[in-house]
Structures are given as C-alpha cells and as structure tokens.
C-alpha cells in the first residue's frame, strides 16, 4: 500500500493525469465559455454584468478551498510529520493566491456596474484581502527562510493563524451589514440561482478545478524532480 505512494509511482501517475487533463481541458473550456458568454440569460436586475459571476465565484471558492486544504495538511504535518504534505502545500499556495487575487479583481469589476463603486472596505471584501495577505506571507516563508524544518514550522503557523479568517469570510455577509450579497448557493438547503445560470456556473467551476489540478500537478512534479536532483549522487 505504502509502496504505491512512492515518489516514482506518484511521478508516473502525475504524468498520466497531466496528459488526461490536457486532452479534455480545452473542450470543457469552450463549453464553459459558450454557456457563460452566450447561452446563459442576463439577470433581470443586474443585466449582462451577472456573467462576471462565472469567473468570480469559482475563483473565490477555489481561493478559499486551497487555503482550507493548506491548513488541514499543515495540521496533519504537525501531528504525523509527513514531509509530502509540505511539498503539496508548497505547490497549492501559488494557485490559491492566483484565484484569491482574481476573485478580488473580478469582484471589483462586478461591483462598479452593480453597486456603483469599484471598492468598499466592507467585511467580505476586507476579509478576502486579509486572505490574500496570508497567502503572500505563506509563500514568502518558502522564499526567504533557508532551513526546511524552520520553513515547515513558520509556514504551518501562518496557515493555522490564517485559517481563523476562513469562517470570517464565509459568515461576514451574515454577521455584518455588507455591500456584498449573502450566499446564493448553499450546500445544505435551497439555493436562489436559477438552473439556467447554475449549469454554466458548475461547468466553469469544473474548468477552474481542472486548471488548478493541472498547475498543482506540474508544480508537484517540479518538486519531485528537485528532490531527486539533490539525491541523484546518493543513489
């Protein structure tokens, strides 16, 4: 069982997965863009600006999901000392930062026609900026610290402290009066998004997920090669 998770087998699996994602990605991207930009109807209040939702919402979800995963793996790494989690986190963090920045930028572009302003320091927007800052701190800890043990310790502390911000982001629209609307899609309970908009949103979420997986696999493959390069003379 543990032999299956050796870096050689993981490397082989990564190559297969990269090939698979590359072969289906553009087809799903074209379907997603057709739904998002052509087939989905305009909103009865927001008009066509609602189409920004198809990039803004998946980017925000993935930004949050990446940090949640980083926190979980950091805690597990603290307990079980599994070094692989450190490399996984190192590969996930830039993806999370990219999506968080995209969520903030597209949110600002959506805010101008909808709220009449590019930016407001309300709870949801501010907590997303805080998340972005935690991502930057987390990535900087890899760049500026030298000892691996110290990097693991500091980055894990940053991730665990940063995770306090995650429920604040989620519930900010309920706890405070914000410009940002409350959640329209809920895992439990009904959601207020019409199926004609829900389908494009789910297809675009799949596009973003595949893209995130592709970048993660390429980054993780780079990490494996980096480690193997260090150990090549020892073999």
């Amino acid at each position: 069982m543990f032999k299956f998770f050796s870096s050689s087998n993981i490397y082989f699996l990564i190559q297969k997965l990269i090939f698979f994602i590359n072969s289906i990605f553009f087809l799903i991207l074209i379907i997603g863009l057709t739904f998002a930009l052509v087939l989905s109807p305009p909103d009865y209040i927001q008009g066509d600006s609602v189409r920004i939702m198809y990039v803004h919402v998946p980017a925000a979800w993935l930004g949050l999901a990446c940090f949640s995963l980083i926190t979980l793996l950091s805690i597990l790494n603290f307990i079980f000392k599994i070094k692989n989690f450190y490399f996984i986190n190192k590969s996930i963090a830039p993806i999370g930062l990219l999506f968080t920045c995209l969520a903030i930028i597209t949110g600002s572009l959506w805010g101008q026609p909808t709220w009449g302003t590019w930016w407001a320091w309300d709870a949801r927007l501010t907590s997303m900026v805080v998340l972005m800052l935690f991502y930057i701190l987390y990535i900087l800890s890899f760049k500026f610290l030298n000892k691996e043990e110290l990097i693991i310790k500091i980055s894990s502390i940053i991730a665990i402290i940063g995770s306090i911000n995650l429920p604040i982001i989620k519930y900010s629209v309920e706890w405070w009066a914000t410009l940002h609307q409350p959640a329209s899609i809920k895992i439990t309970g009904s959601n207020s998004v019409h199926s004609e908009m829900m389908l494009p949103l789910m297809v675009m979420l799949l596009v973003f997920l595949l893209y995130a997986a592709l970048i993660f696999l390429m980054k993780y493959k780079t990490e494996i090669i980096r480690i193997k390069k260090k150990n090549i003379k020892r073999n």
């Binding site: 008009g47 066509d48 920004i52 592709l214 390429m218 494996i224 390069k229 090549i232």
Partner: protein, 77 residues
C-alpha cells in the same frame, strides 16, 4: 446584432475585462509553471550527464523517476 452582443447594454467592458484578466493571468501562470518544470528537467539531465558512466547507470537503474525523465527527454531530442 454583434455590436449589441459585445456591448452587452453597457456592461460589456466589465464582462470582457473580467474574462480577459482571468484568461491572461491563468495562461501566464501556466506557461511560467511549464517553463520552470522544463528548466528543472534540464538541470536534472545535466546533473545526470555529469556523472560517471557507472554512477549514471546506477542512478537510472535505481530511480524510476530518473529513468522516466531520461527516456522522455531522449524522445524529444
């Protein structure tokens, strides 16, 4: 008809700009990641080539990863 679609009742600028920023940033990150991966593969191969024949054969025999990078690069070259 087409200009109406592009303008989207005055919202076109925000929609197209959002999609363009997402597309360009994602493409930039993809190509940068790919370039870094290729760079590390090349560095790994250079390191492998710098070994003595015995060390190189030993590395290729014991490390599946080394073998896969070596074979993949041989195909490309």
């Amino acid at each position: 008809m087409i200009s109406n679609y592009i303008l989207m009742n005055g919202h076109g600028i925000y929609v197209w700009l959002s999609f363009s920023i997402v597309f360009i940033s994602c493409a930039a990150v993809y190509f940068r990641t790919k370039k870094t991966l290729k760079k590390y593969e090349q560095e790994f191969l250079t390191e492998l080539q710098s070994l003595t024949l015995e060390e190189k054969n030993n590395a290729l025999e014991t490390s599946k990863v080394a073998r896969q990078i070596f074979v993949a690069n041989s195909k490309v070259n």
